[in-house]
Symmetry: C2
Subunit: 508 residues, 2 copies
């Protein structure tokens, strides 16, 4: 795979100097245009130590305007990082739209090193690469430009390079014992590298192998590649935007027929027994029991560092707020956080749509309650046409992947759909509009959403079908009776915690 | 001090239940109105263990809407926290405008406990309280409502309370060994508490001592106090806003006379020798020397975990960007970050104006370069009237306090004012407007700012006078010669690092 990167290609100083000024101006100019663009640029550097990863990143920072560049390298995770799913640290460092992120020793670092050292099997490597691929696909699908450089040196070339560096008083510090150790393991690194490149070179995030022996050659290759990739991507996005606008117009015409056809479809929700309820006495007793259970279980979870994430979705006026309050009453306020999900902020809009949920991942042992969530993409955004059909269709997979990462990290995840019937909603809307201090809860939007009941029901149905997995199942709550709903919510969370904690015990 | 909080005041269940529904509705309603308000609410709970701090915070979360409340308690700092100035963790948790933050074991925790245990002297306690006061004043001056509750129990009362808790199977976990140890040290805690309350009870952030023995009594006191404080503050802010609007109109009239009077004033800047320059040869050699020095020194600093913060201010076209690039070229891109300071984002606008700079405090050993900074408040915001005179006047003190915290944490701080003459600026503007790829740098705003040269010069003069301290001095850079300026910047940073590192040595 690397033969073509061991040809000894060079560029003379004269050639380089002749090319430099124009290229630099173009890059600076491009950066200015990029600032207005609707996508971020993620540039990864990986490869053989000594092949110029650091130097090239420094050069990019020097040639371009470092104010619109974010450079990140990763050492051992901080305690705040290791208390969250592995990719949290990468998500929090993603550049916003219009900026460039340069990543050294990124999400490829561990797979590469661990496999070369024999700490993981090839099957495990492949599994990790699937995570990598899913991550990059998620970013690319939302428009991010991903450029990946593999900086290569031959075995001999690496030895020569490390020796040269060691002799240079300015740069000798760069050569560490690990570098020499890795040189001795050269074939193992190359084997891991080949597998990595093979598996993760996809159309939306291809690897470019760069011969790293000659500074000027590799600099020219990388700088030109960055320039070309950004230019091409910018044009492609423009084209895509105009096509999307045309499609949107077309789809609008189609839409009305569709909604009519939908109304008659049976749905998971229609199978719910909506008559279930509790008497006031049953409620008081059962709620107290379940809350006492929950209070004990979550404290155990806290002591073990097990976090809980609770997702509440539901029709307007289905009683999410009330159910959340009954639940959090069993918890110590310092241990939980309720995140109301409304329109994203400016900083959130400049990022991937999942970014704003990643940022609220809590530290070990905490409970995070999302009042509405990432499911907005396949509910309100789908129904209202705030995102393209292609975008919400792919969201099912993105969401499952996101949740899988939580569960893999040991987070207890419960997802609730609070369901009420159309008639019950009308009743509640009318009550709200009559009680002074509840009026603020009822907006014109609620009435508008109500008109699309059928479309929402269809979307919910599909959401449950597509995202209720064994690891992260949906719990449907029959919420016509608030009392019944509240108890079922608290019981479900307690059950989930109990199951997770006993699983932990079996392991130990 | 606490006699009035040991009177055994109680409220009967009947009284409480009679009061509860209306109070709760009022609180919920207030919270909705607060969401539109232009200030955050910071509520602190401190006091004797067992006096109901936790319970009251839980109650507030239960009665009010937890979606607009952020609850925080602090244990040992995480590694990410301990690598930054002490108050970083508090700044990052501050509620935005319209929200309520409930703080348990907050910035009062360490002063109280450390003094009670005799780990700090009374003089040291006082010093820490000054930091607390400055912090609260800074928040209050920008509009934050700060409410502080000291929950009290008598010595006997505490013993009784701890025993009762221990007997309750649901709550026995709350009583720790530390609680009993603290009970034995009761007089010491009370002595520290008295001093703390005395020193930090100010008009903008008064303490309210609450008798904690009876749950209903203390709940009623706190809930009513919160309600009253928010209501009063909301009204006061409205009044203040209309007064400010009137004053602004008046001041505008005055302003023009002032600017005329200013033009003739001598300034620190006029004393600079603006003819200083370097030949191309001198520049190449000196820059290389200084960069080599800097490269070595910053690596040493990195190894020691010493962070560097560099502030660049200067007239438009003074060459900040160029100077920054020459400087960062000596650094490894993974170790520094350049923060361009432009208009704040929506999330930043919802916070204290210093919040957006606190958020960029880097981890140990990094270099953070601010291209424009918190000095915007006393420069552009002052000159353009974006904030009130009172606000920019008090900013001098707030800024000194902010920088003092960095320096106290061991951060090396350099502040540069890059100065050019009016004639030189005109020359550069004209050049920019002629060169295609530099055009984007020149905006109409630059020309408008230029018309206010005298006012800006006056503001800069005062800024340097007021904020150049021995710990955080300004370095004025004669920047008519770009070459001279760049070398002086790099040399200054290298000097500062050298001084800081040798100081560290002496200590060790």
């Amino acid at each position: 795979m690397f033969e073509a990167a061991e040809l000894g290609r060079k560029i003379s100083r004269e050639e380089f100097d002749a090319m430099a000024p124009a290229l630099r101006t173009e890059l600076l100019d491009l950066q200015q245009r990029l600032r207005e663009a609707d996508f971020p640029v993620v540039i990864l550097f990986a490869g053989v130590d000594g092949a110029g990863k650091n130097e090239t990143v420094n050069l990019l920072n020097e040639w371009m305007d470092p104010r619109w560049i974010v450079t990140r390298a990763y050492g051992d995770p901080s305690d705040e990082e290791s208390e969250r799913p592995e990719y949290w640290r990468f998500w929090r460092d993603l550049p916003p739209k219009g900026k460039i992120g340069l990543f050294l020793s990124s999400w490829y670092h561990h797979p590469l090193v661990d496999h070369a050292y024999g700490r993981i099997t090839t099957a495990e490597l492949d599994e990790q690469l699937e995570r990598v691929e899913a991550f990059e696909k998620t970013l690319a699908d939302e428009g991010a430009l991903i450029i990946k450089f593999w900086m290569h040196l031959s075995e001999k070339g690496q030895k020569k390079r490390l020796k040269t560096l060691e002799k240079d008083p300015f740069n000798s510090w760069q050569v560490t014992e690990a570098d020499w150790r890795h040189w001795e393991m050269y074939p193992k690194f190359i084997a891991a590298a080949e597998r990595i490149i093979m598996h993760t070179s996809r159309g939306n995030a291809p690897w470019q192998i760069v011969e790293g022996a000659d500074t000027r050659y590799r600099s020219a290759v990388v700088l030109n590649a960055v320039k070309d990739a950004i230019t091409t991507h910018m044009e492609a996005r423009e084209t895509a935007k105009s096509v999307a606008a045309q499609n949107k117009a077309k789809n609008k015409a189609k839409k009305s027929d569709k909604s009519a056809a939908l109304a008659s479809q049976p749905s998971i929700l229609s199978a719910l027994d909506m008559t279930q309820s509790l008497t006031k006495e049953q409620y008081t007793q059962e709620l107290q029991e379940q809350r006492a259970r929950l209070a004990k279980l979550y404290r155990k979870a806290k002591d073990k560092g097990v976090s809980t994430v609770l997702v509440f979705e539901g029709s307007d006026a289905a009683g999410k707020g009330g159910a959340i309050r009954r639940l959090t009453a069993s918890l110590n306020a310092r241990d939980y956080q309720v995140i109301p999900v409304a329109a994203p902020t400016e900083e959130e809009r400049a990022q991937h749509y999942l970014w704003r949920f990643w940022r609220y991942m809590a530290r070990a042992g905490r409970v995070t309650v999302f009042d509405r969530s990432w499911y907005g993409r396949v509910l309100v955004e789908r129904v209202e046409g705030f995102c393209s059909e292609e975008a919400w269709r792919r969201a099912y997979h993105e969401i499952c992947d996101f949740e899988e990462q939580m569960v893999a990290h040991g987070i207890v995840l419960c997802k609730f759909w609070l369901h009420i019937t159309e008639a019950e909603q009308l009743l509640r809307f009318n009550t709200r509009s009559e009680i002074e201090y509840k009026k603020w809860k009822l907006t014109d939007e609620d009435w508008r959403n109500r008109e699309k009941w059928g479309e929402y029901e269809h979307a919910v149905n599909e959401m449950v079908e597509r995202t209720s997995t064994s690891n992260a199942p949906w719990t449907l709550i029959e919420a016509n009776s608030k009392l019944f709903a509240r108890v079922k919510v608290v019981r479900t969370v307690a059950d989930a915690l109990e199951a997770a904690l006993s699983k932990g015990k079996k392991k130990a």
